[in-house]
Symmetry: C2
Subunit: 205 residues, 2 copies
């Protein structure tokens, strides 16, 4: 029989299954697609991977991925430089930008506090965030509010609490995105924790 | 704003979203994972992709992917060489092998008839299948049964019918895998077509 090490297809599938959201079956499906793909596509894909590795770096201000020193958002004078929205990952920033209503700046932590997973404050881009709230040599406006938009789960909430304790003494307002039953969602199908929080954080109408 | 062409991350995500089962969001998630992946992983992955392209070819007998002239199954004398199971894709063969009870040989068509999608008999490895049912210089045993295990949908059924018309005149028995309500599934949740077929193909107990 073919052993996994001897079979190049199994080996490729095993490598692909290490990527996020790719299970064993999707990995094999992807591996087979790559076998069938025309060499031109493979070459372009390899170039694109090389290109992101060469050109992408972290914005010196907000730590988002960018191919320039300062990203397009941080260097956009039309945006509100007095408000920072703190997100865990670049894809969270993308989701908020897609929604299209937020006009302030961002700060990307590249993770959330997760003591069990071995992620401490030193592993996140917190120092860079604190620098932005300090002397502000670069930003013309001083930051007045930091909105913590980490996901409403144990790690995201702990990160928000940790940041609020660091930032509040600097005289900057710290807020947290609202969480509760999703808009358009059915109360009936919301999980217990969501319902609990929706009740706890009820607003007076 | 970053335009898709100018942003290497968007470009990589766009390329990845062309792979099967990868939507827009998973493509971006994969692109970000590839940005963060260590260069050693990227190098190994590129090598693995190159390796499948260089080493994998179609088995001269069953048309399955293999790195040898004749695949391990076709060259295994302990398997039943009188029965061929015809599948659409290598992953279907893998699913049957994982199940572990089938001991005959396979034949991989690399597709199913799909006139609307522009896939005709000439695009499938049907000729190779017919050759296996003919003179049989290589196989010691003559094939006695061909089990068509294409998926039970319009294209899979049409392919099975087409093959049975070609093969039956050769004096080889052609059978089709059973289809109906999945074992362990709930009748209540089965779709109309499945229920219809489950009734039509009922067996006397």
């Amino acid at each position: 029989m073919n052993t996994p090490a001897a079979d190049p297809l199994q080996r490729l599938a095993a490598l692909l299954s290490r990527l996020p959201g790719i299970g064993e079956k999707s990995a094999m499906r992807l591996a087979l697609a790559l076998v069938r793909a025309d060499p031109e596509y493979i070459r372009t894909l390899a170039e694109a991977v090389g290109s992101v590795h060469e050109t992408l770096k972290l914005c010196r201000s907000c730590c988002d991925l960018t191919s320039t020193e300062i990203c397009v958002r941080c260097s956009d004078a039309r945006r509100d430089h007095t408000t920072l929205c703190v997100v865990a990952q670049p894809q969270d920033r993308m989701a908020l930008e897609r929604a299209g209503f937020y006009r302030g700046l961002y700060h990307v932590l590249h993770g959330v506090l997760d003591p069990l997973g071995g992620v401490g404050p030193g592993d996140l881009h917190v120092d860079a965030l604190l620098r932005r709230l300090g002397a502000n040599e670069e930003d013309s406006a001083t930051v007045q509010e930091v909105i913590v938009a980490t996901s409403p789960n144990v790690e995201g909430d702990a990160t928000a609490l940790y940041l609020s304790r660091l930032i509040a003494p600097l005289g900057v307002r710290v807020s947290r995105i609202a969480s509760g039953v999703a808009v358009g969602g059915e109360l009936e199908y919301a999980d217990v924790t969501t319902l609990h929080r929706a009740l706890q954080e009820r607003r007076v109408l």
